[in-house]
Symmetry: C2
Subunit: 360 residues, 2 copies
């Protein structure tokens, strides 16, 4: 059965009204608001048909209508106009986000926080795991029993670790360790660092104090941490703004789910890119059945790809939220994806700067 133009118009108006008020929508208000010149009786007939087709629902006989999942789905897919943010708005958000992105190490948490803030919903952000290797080692000899290990990774991050030895060690040995580590451990993925390799290096160094083990575990740690998918979850308190989470049990269940299983979200994208809306019961996870999810993928270059998303009531303003998520994804990809950060204004103009984070 096809759906007439007028029905679509009515459905769209109904969904938007419901999003606004959180109350079942009656034919009367709809007739006033819908903008198509016909009476409430006509609307009633149309509503009855839309109900029969499965797009609408009545909580009880004498109540207004509420969209079903199918209704939402139609709205999201065809009816809604993704909110065009005003030029200033876009500009403002862009600037704000760009500012956050200046510091690269907390990319994931920055993105998540930003998403939460502008949508007033709990948000999460996940960075896809990536295979990294160590490009070079440097060992800085500080004093007779202190040195610093520095590793430059293939993703341009830098990790370091300060080592304080209970025994003294000569600078020469540290230098030799450096040479050996650079010779044996660079270009390897985490899983390629094996015990035999470590033992061989230890023999080559001719040292029994465990120096090699320390260096090796540093390498492993650095790689482990760099290739771990970062994740961020936050803004849960914003849930409580929305009437559907008045029931503390519901709110708590969702919050706990967010905290415990953020890693389940990326697979909801199914490998697709762009913005994806998942309406309430379409969700596989039990805990999300009452809530909708809006996800977007981003690509920050250097193989740093990920997913950012927000979770909210089924009755959320999809048009606005989806618009904002798209903006975020685009801004990130624009700002970082093409390689390199635009330098800030001021004295640093002449140089590209990239800060890094470290292990432990």
């Amino acid at each position: 059965m096809e759906i007439s133009q007028r029905k679509k118009k009515i459905l769209a108006a109904l969904v938007e009204l419901y999003i606004e008020t959180a109350e079942p929508v009656g034919s009367k208000v709809l007739a006033q608001r819908a903008g198509l010149g016909c009476s409430s009786a006509t609307i009633r007939n149309e509503l009855a048909e839309l109900s029969a087709m499965g797009y609408l629902n009545q909580p009880h006989t004498s109540a207004g209508r509420v969209p079903t999942v199918q209704g939402y789905r139609l709205y999201v897919n065809e009816l809604m106009e993704r909110q065009r943010l005003s030029a200033e708005e876009t500009e403002r958000l862009n600037r704000e986000l760009a500012q956050r992105l200046m510091a690269l190490d907390n990319l994931v948490s920055d993105i998540g926080q930003f998403a939460s803030q502008i949508t007033d919903l709990p948000a999460l952000a996940i960075a896809a795991p990536r295979a990294v290797t160590i490009v070079r080692f440097d060992f800085i000899y500080v004093d007779v029993n202190t040195f610093i290990m520095v590793a430059l990774l293939s993703d341009n991050s830098v990790k370091n670790k300060l080592i304080r030895l209970p025994v003294s060690v000569e600078k020469l040995k540290i230098d030799k360790l450096s040479t050996l580590m650079n010779a044996n451990f660079t270009g390897l993925r985490e899983d390629q660092i094996t015990q035999p390799l470590i033992s061989a290096t230890e023999r080559a160094l001719d040292d029994m104090t465990g120096l090699t083990a320390v260096a090796a575990s540093f390498a492993i740690e650095a790689l482990t941490q760099a290739s771990q998918p970062g994740s961020f979850v936050g803004g849960q308190n914003r849930l409580l703004h929305h009437p559907e989470y008045q029931d503390p049990d519901k709110a708590h269940a969702l919050m706990s789910f967010l905290n415990q299983a953020p890693m389940e979200f990326p697979q909801l994208m199914n490998g697709e890119t762009g913005v994806k809306v998942i309406v309430g019961p379409e969700n596989v996870s039990e805990a999300l059945r009452d809530s909708s999810v809006v996800l977007a993928t981003y690509d920050a270059g250097d193989g740093v790809r990920g997913v950012v998303g927000v979770v909210g009531p089924t009755r959320m303003d999809y048009a606005v939220v989806a618009g904002k998520m798209q903006l975020i994804a685009q801004t990130i990809s624009n700002a970082l994806g093409t390689g390199g950060l635009k330098p800030p204004s001021g004295m640093d103009n002449k140089l590209m700067i990239r800060g890094e984070d470290t292990i432990e």
Copy 2:
């Protein structure tokens, strides 16, 4: 007016019963539970007096009694026995915490998370700011337009930054920069790095590409970040377990406050050390009037001191919570305060390891 031994006993029983049930406590249950052999009528007389003295309150004429702030205060100060955790319990918690403390860089967040977990309340942890200086700089020349800056700080943390130049630079110049930075910038606090100093260094380096400015801003950043008080707030969702936060507005107000003003908590300690309980309306902040706060100070050595605390309903189990907070504070101080972490078992046995974090 002094307070009889029996009154104290009754008050303690009442507070504990109220903590358990969250309902006003009547004379009847109290007579059964209190363990002192007297009838409900006697208890009623005593309760009436305790009410007159300001320790108890009646929500309405025909309801049971509820402790007032004053009542709680007396309970906390004199009556409660700080929960002695069982030996295994203590052992288990100790081990768990010690494990977390292995990684030093997220000390604050680890402590906070731990506190939240074992008390089932939202928690926060704040590290006191400390004055740090840079002990030494190292500049690692990677290739013709890439180098890494490494700074060892007086608190034994290491910061680094990868710099990618749009122009090429010789290793010699980087070495010279290193010498100059070590000569001019070590031992300084953040506020002692002035523009004239930077300019002088720039002249000495005889370079117009802005290298000096980059190095200087790195130094400033490193110091700023290291001396910033770290803070952690988390576990807000646990609030919803407790009936007094059924009202989403209340829950939300408190959560927002925690997120926005965590820095207000340390000053509640007034410079004291140990465990401090602040009962509901004793709080200065409006947002905390309905909630109680249990704070503890910790000292992790190396000048890393801070405050860890939990927030919950006025009717919280002070005995247990205070006991646990004390345990945390003590464990941290024991494990770290005396200097150095006990090494983990295994291959690292021979060395003391201390990981670090970095800027940006």
